[in-house]
């Protein structure tokens, strides 16, 4: 098991938009390593005769017909939003992207 560096933790934290202090980063590096080590033990149990799987259920093609079902009203859709305007969700300024 390779060591998890502070840089890796910082990068993952950034991807998850988490602000961490240097102390927290160092702590988490150790914890993440322990967690990954525990998960890695699965590999010992999974021999080559076990097919990789993404789902515990052995089902495929679970679909629904293309039939409209009622939507929410805008009032109800927006009822939990911290801010709204003109029946739209209002979000803070978007930074770092030109769309």
């Amino acid at each position: 098991m390779s060591r998890i560096s502070n840089e890796e933790v910082a990068r993952i934290a950034h991807l998850a938009r988490l602000e961490l202090s240097a102390t927290e980063i160092a702590e988490l590096a150790g914890e993440m390593e322990a967690i990954l080590g525990a998960v890695a033990r699965v590999q010992e149990a999974a021999k080559s005769d076990v097919v990789p799987t993404s789902h515990p259920l052995a089902l495929v093609n679970v679909t629904r017909p293309d039939v409209v079902r009622p939507s929410l009203t805008p009032e109800s859709a927006l009822s939990g939003a911290p801010a709204s305007e003109e029946d739209r969700f209002r979000v803070p300024q978007i930074l770092g992207e030109e769309a």
């Binding site: 991807l15 939507s71 029946d87 969700f89 030109e98």
Partner: protein, 497 residues
């Protein structure tokens, strides 16, 4: 600065096209919300497409079938097992903070589409190889408030409408396309056009570029000839019409060449096409490879279409547009050159619809390729995007055939319809357009013309028939172009015989 010819002499262009198509299903990809275009904001949303905690996605069967149909029409292999994946990113256009897409197991792979293009050396076929066709969901629409012209830059805040979030989206990605050479921009446009025709024929999408149900991202790179490797590419987004596909690529080829000639490098980045200037501007830089942390979507089961299901869908495939065109050419007896002109102008489908409305194929073709194409050129839009329908044109052709309009008056009616004055009958009524067919009125006008130009009239009497042109012209002017010129000539020559 290098000219286009010089650019082609020194560099080889490589194309890559990503087309996104919104499927025309009644409901969204993973929930039963409707998909009407232009609905009031946030009226087509539910806990699933709003990403509410605990809400679970449920795949639309029709969306899977549509995607398989697209894959089959593009000669792809349909994967026996394919999975959805989460593409993680923080951006308010997806309320879940991830988009459900497909990553390493797309539903269709390795296809191709043959594109015909009329070059000065004749009709050529270019094979565009398709890397993959996969399913995903569309994002919401943002409205940026404050700052200049609704752009995100300088905006104080943004407003989100999630009606579009979750609409089934199919992404069609080509492999790197080499060998188009100087025709790279035109082939790219022809590819998108052919793809649009196929999707329309399949009935899987309304393929309206102006409404965003068909969108194209154009990748282009230039590599110095003989270098043996590809150059750095740029990806241009916001290409919202067929014409823009060609313009955006041409503009990028010039920009790349200029940088390379100046000894600078091309930055791998996303650029945005600007319709008004026909150039692109820099968007976000892709210097740091984006990390979307894809992983298999745990809330959805794999899609494993059976061979029977695939064959059932294959049996539904309509005639390929290229075969269809060949059949029409035979049926309508169109010369090759004319057929190529129709294909390049993108009017085959429209002419066909006009013929289906009862018009004569040759007349229908002449109107769309002639007057309407000319007006479309003036407005710098595609013929197909002109605000006149095949039904309107068929009606006008019928009026000419019935003698109620002359060709000249018919052109005025076409112009009126395109100017938004209404349907042909309304334009005729509003403009007071009518053929002067009252013989008495015509004869009176002819007599006035003869009286005004006695010498010309004498020449005609003496057998100089071409001289009659001046008199006919005067009569046409007198009747404000509403007379049938052929009939005027007949009457005039009769009077001067």
């Amino acid at each position: 600065m290098l000219t286009y010819d010089e650019i082609i002499e020194k560099y080889e262009p490589a194309l890559g096209l990503e087309v996104h198509v919104e499927l025309g299903t009644k409901t969204k990809m993973f929930c039963g919300c409707p998909t009407e275009f232009g609905a009031e904001p946030n009226t087509q949303v539910c806990p699933v497409c709003l990403g509410m905690p605990g809400a679970l996605p449920f795949v639309n069967e029709r969306a899977i079938e549509s995607t398989i149909l697209i894959g089959l029409a593009l000669n792809c292999s349909i994967a026996p097992m394919s999975r959805f994946a989460r593409k993680n990113y923080f951006y308010p256009d997806m309320p879940k903070n991830f988009q459900i897409s497909q990553y390493d197991e797309p539903i269709c792979t390795d296809g191709y589409l043959d594109v015909e293009y009329e070059t000065p050396e004749g009709m050529k076929t270019f094979r565009i190889e398709i890397e993959r066709v996969h399913m995903e969901e569309d994002t919401g629409k943002s409205l940026h408030v404050g700052g200049a012209t609704g752009r995100i830059h300088g905006a104080e805040y943004s407003l989100l409408d999630y009606n579009r979030a979750g609409i089934p989206l199919v992404e069609i990605v080509t492999k790197t396309v080499l060998g188009t050479e100087r025709y790279a921009p035109q082939i790219a446009k022809a590819y998108v056009k052919e793809l649009r025709d196929i999707l329309r024929a399949l009935g899987v999408s309304d393929v309206k570029m102006e409404q965003g149900s068909l969108r194209c991202d154009a990748n282009i790179s230039l590599s110095p000839r003989g270098s043996g490797k590809l150059g750095t590419r740029s990806e241009t987004k916001n290409v919202n019409s067929l014409r823009s596909v060609e313009r955006a690529i041409t503009s990028e080829m010039h920009r790349h060449a200029q940088r390379l000639e100046a000894g600078e490098r091309v930055v791998q980045e996303t650029r945005h096409f600007q319709e008004d200037s026909g150039t692109t501007r820099s968007g976000r830089s892709k210097e740091q490879a984006e990390d979307y942390r894809y992983f298999p979507e745990p809330d959805l089961l794999p899609v494993a279409p059976s061979a029977e299901w695939i064959e059932e869908l294959r049996a539904q495939l309509p005639e390929r547009p290229s075969a269809h065109r060949a059949r029409l050419q035979q049926l309508w007896q169109v010369p090759d050159k004319e057929m190529a002109a129709m294909i390049n102008a993108g009017v085959v489908g429209i002419v066909e619809e006009t013929v289906a409305q009862g018009a004569d194929p040759t007349k229908a073709r002449t109107w769309w390729l002639g007057e309407i194409s000319r007006l479309a050129n003036e407005r710098e839009v595609e013929v197909a995007e002109m605000p006149i329908t095949p039904k309107d044109v068929a009606e006008i052709i019928a009026l000419v055939a019935a003698g109620e309009l002359t060709d000249k008056l018919a052109r005025q009616v076409v112009e009126g319809v395109i100017a938004g004055e209404g349907k042909p009958k309304e334009v005729i009524a509003a403009r007071g357009i009518k053929v002067v067919s009252d013989e008495g009125e015509l004869v009176a006008a002819i007599e006035r013309a003869i009286a005004a130009q006695p010498e010309t009239a004498q020449k005609v009497r003496d057998g100089n028939i071409p001289a009659a042109g001046a008199l006919i012209g005067a009569v046409m002017k007198d009747t404000k172009g509403q007379a049938d010129a052929a009939r005027v000539r007949e009457l005039l020559l009769g009077l001067l015989a």
